[in-house]
Symmetry: C2
Subunit: 325 residues, 2 copies
């Protein structure tokens, strides 16, 4: 049973004695046979609305023209079966139009949810972070180079990308071979079943004419390619912001991030491109730290960035292109 928590936010032109105001307001609750100011509407939305109208009216009488601003915020819904609040990366409160949980699993690596949004379609949420919605082709377009690349006949490596969006898009351009390394079979299973506007039928099989999916941690995969001296025309890093790895050696996020970057640049063809998502455009410090890491790689690199509006993110997002100097 969900509880609707309404907030009436108002400002006063002069300070008032709350001892004289609050009892006057409490009578409204008492008239409704409510003994507390916190109440369960139990589905009777009209009661809550009546109460707010009565409260607002009485406040105006009691405070006698003292209110300079009054605003009723949409109710916070608490204890609901379906959680609608998924804050932005920069920590702001956002209410999604989520009406049902489509898939929920705890894998060995993370909590996986696929939630249905009325406007965005199904949304993949990993460990509480909105990863990608079916509406988010701008994300996929940005991380494959915003339509300025030609993948025909190319060797491509995708790190992460378990929703299948990048794979489905790049395959259309007839590359020579795409290798995708993704750690979590349960994410692939959920997306194959419920994110079909994103992945189409590409996840129905772990290999096809010009692609193969390795259900493995990408770190050993990258290390093997470095040893073999293999290179790729494109490396697309679509790993989650908070790293998940079976490798015990990397204990900090930034160390892990630099490890991935370093290995990726090592397997990048001298004229190749490395694409990755960065962060919320508002997280300037994290973005600077990331750019600092780019200066610490074993091979010198150049980079450019682009700010993109990904529909379900509700905040602008930075994408990077990195190349060998």
């Amino acid at each position: 049973m969900a509880l609707r928590h309404y907030t009436l936010d108002f400002s006063l032109s002069t300070a008032v004695d709350s001892a004289s105001t609050v009892p006057g307001l409490l009578s409204i609750f008492h008239e409704q046979e409510m003994t507390e100011t916190v109440h369960d509407t139990d589905g009777h939305g009209y009661l809550a609305t009546f109460l707010l109208n009565a409260l607002e009216k009485k406040l105006k009488v009691l405070l006698n023209g003292n209110i300079t601003r009054i605003k009723r915020l949409p109710a916070l819904i608490r204890g609901a079966k379906v959680d609608r609040y998924w804050p932005t990366a920069d920590g702001r409160l956002m209410e999604y139009d989520i009406d049902r949980v489509v898939y929920e699993e705890d894998s060995a690596y993370q909590n996986i949810k696929i939630l249905h949004s009325k406007q965005f379609g199904n949304i993949l949420v990993l460990n509480g972070d909105v990863n990608l919605a079916e509406s988010d082709s701008p994300y996929t377009q940005a991380i494959i180079g915003s339509g300025k690349e030609n993948y025909a006949g190319k060797e491509v490596l995708i790190l992460g990308g378990g929703d299948g969006g990048i794979l489905a898009e790049v395959v259309k351009q007839k590359p020579k071979m795409i290798t995708m390394s993704y750690i979590d079979q349960k994410v692939i299973d959920g997306c194959r079943a419920h994110m079909r506007l994103t992945c189409g039928s590409i996840l129905d099989s772990l290999e096809g004419d010009c692609y193969q999916i390795l259900v493995e941690d990408c770190v050993p995969v990258l290390k093997k390619y470095v040893q073999e001296g293999r290179t790729f025309d494109y490396v697309i890093n679509d790993l989650t912001a908070v790293p998940i790895s079976t490798e015990p050696e990397e204990d900090s996020t930034w160390e892990f991030l630099r490890l991935i970057l370093d290995l990726s640049i090592k397997v990048l063809h001298p004229s190749g491109k490395y694409f990755t998502q960065g962060n919320s455009v508002n997280l300037k410090e994290a973005l600077s730290l990331y750019e600092e890491q780019l200066g610490k790689l074993s091979c010198p690199v150049g980079f450019s960035k682009e700010v993109v509006c990904v529909p379900s993110y509700l905040e602008l997002w930075v994408f990077y292109t990195v190349w060998k100097k």
Copy 2:
């Protein structure tokens, strides 16, 4: 002085007696020399965080493994100088990254605010509705036909559009003449000064080589054009969703909307196009009602619609193209 209102939302596997739990929690507040559960952090964010951590810890002890889910929502900021909460058209709570009020005026027609968002630039808010941000070129592109039109040498009528975005964009294509009718000089003044990423220098003058701005209610303007038998190749309706007019005859929103539509179609060249913004993609009933109005016009029309992601709206938006059958 703003107050941070934190919400700790949790679910229990079995019901508990709140009489035995609440006093246990209150001791945390008492230890902090707080006598109430509502407290003003007065800038001491660490105190509030400490308190939440303590609360969460104590809850877990008191409820002894009974908690099935616990989630800390970002704080609701109340009584702040700058209001960060601008709900979506479909009534969801959204926290914007607004850090200052750039412009605020009450005109004869409406309350006008221009608010600065860290990521979207300045945002025009009319009577509490987010109208347009400097980041929102996708709005302007959608309402002028998504790049599929050629305005060169054409006669164009813009209804509304006080932010100057449409005018600035269409002027680039060298139309024969653009006439824009906008009611509120104070909106034009605010946008000319503070929305320059949207309007450029176009609002610096009310007329130019191929445009004129009539600072007037568009209803009498349209009626005059109908009487004169004047037609336009493009009519772009960028009026606010809730109508503002000096005409006393129209008392309902839908009647006003149909009046504008009817007059607009009357001044539309037989091969012309009428563009307008619709509503949130989630407001299916309002969209249906609008489409119903299209069937009630004095001249039969056809229409198509497009769903567009306008960055600052935080919800997908429907745009219409209407033509004479």
